[in-house]
Symmetry: C2
Subunit: 236 residues, 2 copies
DNA sequence: CCAAAAGTGTTCTTATTACACCCATGC
DNA sequence: GCATGGGTGTAATAAGAACACTTTTGG
């Protein structure tokens, strides 16, 4: 049996390997307008296949960690960040995702706060990209990012998720900017503020944001629960 | 190294094994009222762990089949059915789901038509249960069934999914019965029919259902697409 | 004719949208 | 005082719930 047929046999017989990857979203100011836009960190592959291409942070699942812990860990390892929101996205298991072996990837998606995101590690092999402008990535990661973005938009339109992209205190205009950045359309400020104020998880504080050029806006706080999904006992 | 420490070492070092399971829903007439209710087939375990307990149909992932194909296969193997709707539910990967080894299960959920479900294989080791009355199952399968049921209810409230539990032709009252069975509450017939007729995927036929005791209701047809999820290029 | 489900109309309530307007601050 | 974003009011429209009413069948 020569080496190449050994590889073929190995591939046929070995069980599919299991990996965890994470799509990490954070707000950063756009270079041009300065308005907040969605970004995500990618890592450069240093090995074949897809050597030198950008890919989602990820890696194998350790024997003694849960799926979510693994996602949390590779988020911390690549960016130094801890997520304020972390949820399973999907398990991708197509036969030809990787040219060298069969890989099943369980992908999570995360939201991190902008104050943290600004401090995130960046290096030769870790760089942030605009979420709506990713070019070709390794494996099927471009499709995964697009799906994660679709899911984020969907959740934002229904659930109370935007707050996980903001700090503890925020103005209603900041919440609106998050919606506008993610959904990519303008929203009526008057109606939007009423809409948000109607959600019970939003609490008015006595504080105001000082230092702006105009009337100081009131600061609010989010009192809802981050957790979702069957593992966290709630609603995906 | 004695056998028991060998097992421990094996468990620590072996990668988590990967399995596919499926929650299969179908409508069947209730024994009492005769009204349609939700049922699902379970299989009896013939080996440890959880020997003799009921469990979701499932098994390992073959090296040359996609995740969805595997789900479709174990659906066919246990019940003889082909699903009219099949979608990924969630990947369960808790550390202690199985007492003997670490198992990550990628779970799908399916809807099958009642005409088929009536013919489904049933045997000593395959039996149908009412979906809202499952008792203790093997592993974490009870929680999985409850989560699948939650997801079905959620999708039914928003999307066009009820039709996959019905045959090709159906009356609006039958659609309403599906909603009432799944959501477990009465719906106003007048408002419900308007709501359904407003969906563009519902097509009126010239046919009427004959043989009833009263005025023959018109038959309708569903013209929408079943597919969802990133693998099928659409919307979960 | 009567019972019962099929199917239509009408009213009331509530959410969404568009947009006019007032308020408070820095400059 | 004036420009600007913060914040409130209001009228028009759309969507949903409640329920009275007409139609068509089998018996």
């Amino acid at each position: 049996m020569n080496p190449s047929s050994a590889n073929v046999a190995e591939r046929r017989l070995a069980p599919p390997s299991l990996a965890i990857s994470t799509v990490i979203f954070a707000l950063r100011p756009s270079e041009k307008s300065g308005r907040p836009t969605l970004w995500l960190p990618l890592v450069r592959r240093i090995r074949e296949p897809y050597k030198d291409m950008w890919a989602l942070p990820g890696g194998p699942l350790a024997h003694d960690e849960s799926l979510q812990d693994a996602a949390s860990r590779n988020l911390r390892e690549t960016t130094g960040l801890t997520p304020h929101y972390l949820e399973q996205l999907y398990a991708f298991g197509g036969l030809h995702r990787s040219p060298t072996q069969r890989v099943v990837s369980i992908v999570y998606w995360a939201l991190v706060q902008p104050t943290e995101a600004a401090l995130a590690d960046e290096s030769e092999n870790v760089r942030w990209f605009r979420a709506d402008r990713v070019d070709e990535l390794a494996f099927d990661h471009k499709a995964i990012v697009e799906y994660a973005l679709w899911r984020l938009r969907n959740k934002m339109a229904y659930g109370s998720i935007a707050y996980h992209l903001l700090g503890e205190y925020f103005t209603l205009a900041q919440v609106r900017e998050v919606y506008e950045a993610v959904l990519d359309r303008q929203l009526d400020p008057a109606n939007f503020r009423r809409h948000i104020k109607a959600t019970p998880e939003i609490e008015e504080t006595g504080e105001y944001l000082q230092g702006g050029k105009h009337r100081p806006p009131r600061l609010y706080r989010f009192t809802g629960t981050p957790g979702l999904g069957p593992d966290n006992r709630s609603t995906p």
